[in-house]
């Protein structure tokens, strides 16, 4: 299908070898055309960017120095945020395991069941966390409960998806041996597949928790509790010194959690 003709060279002994032409120039051309039209459609304007960028630095300037006195009001919402993401991540990761098992085509031979559970997992994934949190606030009322549920749903979808991919890619040799010695499929999964996927599973759960801390920070925007509520409030009052304090606290917290998470994930590999 390549438009350009393949190039061939002749070796000294008379044999010819043909090189395939690279498709890269065509791909780059297509990308450039896409880029041009996306600029046209979204109305991206370089002049506005140049004119208004100064405002960005003004706001950053207002944030420095941050309002240190505000800090003691922030501890409670910060811990709420961490609690929300921790609880949601743990429950979600546990719940993801049976769902992922049922969505793995190499474990469950019943095709409609596998398709149904894959569909459920992808349906959950299409639901943005913010929307899930918003719906949860209607069901459970304003507060951290709603945030926990939203994070739970996201974790089930995310960890569940990665987990069933890991199960489907797992080496089935030991699994076959389990069957040959009289294990049921679930018992063979427990003995032969679980040891293979466990490090990956834990690593994904920890990575998901790490991301969830960041998500949880903005969930307050829709009333799901935590530090996002304070952020929304301070931005509403244009109190950039307070915003600066919140952001600084978030950066430090996320950095600490990321470092801990990275340490444990390295240990697992």
């Amino acid at each position: 299908m390549n438009i350009l003709k393949a190039k061939s060279v002749e070796l000294p002994n008379g044999k010819t070898v043909t090189f395939k032409r690279s498709k890269a120039p065509w791909i780059i051309l297509v990308l450039l055309i896409c880029f041009y039209y996306s600029v046209q459609i979204t109305g991206f304007d370089l002049q506005v960017l140049a004119k208004r960028i100064g405002q960005f630095w003004v706001i950053i300037g207002d944030m420095i120095p941050p309002n240190w006195k505000y800090l003691n009001k922030l501890w409670q919402p910060l811990f709420d945020t961490i609690k929300m993401s921790l609880l949601g991540s743990i429950l979600g990761s546990i719940f993801a395991l049976p769902l992922a098992y049922l969505a793995s085509s190499n474990m469950i031979k019943n095709k409609p069941v596998v398709a149904a559970f894959k569909f459920i997992l992808s349906l959950l994934r299409t639901l943005p966390t913010l929307v899930a949190a918003l719906i949860a606030t209607f069901v459970f009322g304003i507060g951290t409960m709603a945030g926990t549920v939203a994070i739970f749903i996201f974790t089930v979808a995310y960890v569940g998806k990665l987990l069933y991919e890991a199960i489907e890619n797992a080496d089935l040799k030991a699994f076959e041996a389990m069957h040959s010695m009289g294990h049921t499929t679930t018992s063979a999964f427990r003995c032969a597949i679980m040891p293979q996927i466990l490090p990956n599973y834990l690593s994904n759960a920890i990575f998901c928790f790490e991301g969830n801390v960041r998500y949880a920070a903005i969930l307050g925007y829709v009333g799901a509790g935590g530090i996002g509520l304070m952020l929304n409030e301070s931005l509403g009052w244009r109190n950039y010194a307070n915003v600066g304090m919140i952001l600084l606290l978030l950066v430090v917290t996320v950095y600490i959690i990321e470092s801990i998470s990275e340490y444990f994930r390295k240990k697992l590999m």
């Binding site: 040799k173 076959e176 041996a177 040959s180 009289g182 049921t184 040891p195 490090p199």
Partner: protein, 253 residues
């Protein structure tokens, strides 16, 4: 006793893997199944523990008709039959001991299965099985740290812990070097003699088959073309088992 009577096996794609197999193997025999790749050796032994279904005929294992078993009965049949594979099929990330302990799992209560908790008695039995295969010192080593020969011994220990009356081995020495292959064949011989277990081995190495097995079954395109003592296998018989197909194809052309 294993008894094949007029057994046929046709795969879903129409390929006839076994044609009218009649074969009786008594308890305690050491049988080597030889033949070209694709001749049906693997299919033959996998029918015995119902890893494959047969299409027609009758297959008795210890007086149980295998072809009509269902669910739980199949698992019960398999509990009494050990299986050894070419690539060992161990769980790589865990220790030898844990790999052996896995053979007790089907008979454990659910909560023990879920938590992976074994009794002291089971641990001692597993260690004994490892000791029997002379690999006790590697009990706590992860199996991916072991050599091929050592891994096959762990797999044998796993099978012994299951206390089967029959061991099926599908190319057990094909991925081992010649020296280790001999050792593993000797291990099979020891198990066969000491514990009176029936051993059925699929094997490509004819010299090993003739040296260790007491009986040889030759298969060519799904049919048994030789069945007799290993000591009576001659050059002509081997020619018949291996090159027969070649001759047919040559004459056909």
């Amino acid at each position: 006793m294993i008894k094949f009577q007029n057994v046929n096996k046709k795969y879903d794609n129409g390929y006839e893997a076994l044609k009218d197999i009649n074969l009786t193997i008594e308890q305690g025999e050491y049988v080597a199944v030889i033949g070209l790749s694709g001749a049906g050796k693997s299919t033959l032994i996998r029918c015995i523990n119902r890893m494959h279904d047969i299409s027609s005929g009758s297959l008795l294992v210890n007086d149980v008709e295998v072809s009509t078993l269902k669910g739980k009965e199949i698992r019960k049949l398999r509990r009494g039959i050990g299986m050894i594979f070419q690539s060992f099929n161990l769980v790589n990330r865990i220790s030898s001991l844990k790999n052996v302990l896995v053979s007790f799992v089907p008979d454990m209560p659910i909560w023990r299965k879920v938590l992976g908790l074994y009794t002291k008695k089971q641990k001692i039995e597993a260690l004994e099985a490892l000791d029997r295969m002379n690999i006790l010192d590697k009990a706590f080593t992860r199996v991916d740290q072991l050599s091929g020969g050592q891994q096959q011994r762990v797999a044998l220990a796993r099978t012994l812990a299951q206390k089967p009356s029959i061991i099926l081995a599908d190319e057990p020495v094909a991925s081992l070097d010649p020296i280790t292959a001999k050792q593993v064949m000797t291990d099979f011989q020891r198990i066969n003699e000491e514990m009176n277990m029936t051993i059925i081995i699929n094997i490509h190495h004819v010299d090993l088959a003739l040296e260790y097995a007491t009986r040889v079954v030759g298969i060519r395109s799904g049919e048994i073309v030789y069945d007799g003592p290993a000591s009576e296998v001659t050059e002509q018989i081997l020619e018949h088992i291996y090159n027969g197909k070649l001759e047919e194809e040559l004459s056909g052309n």
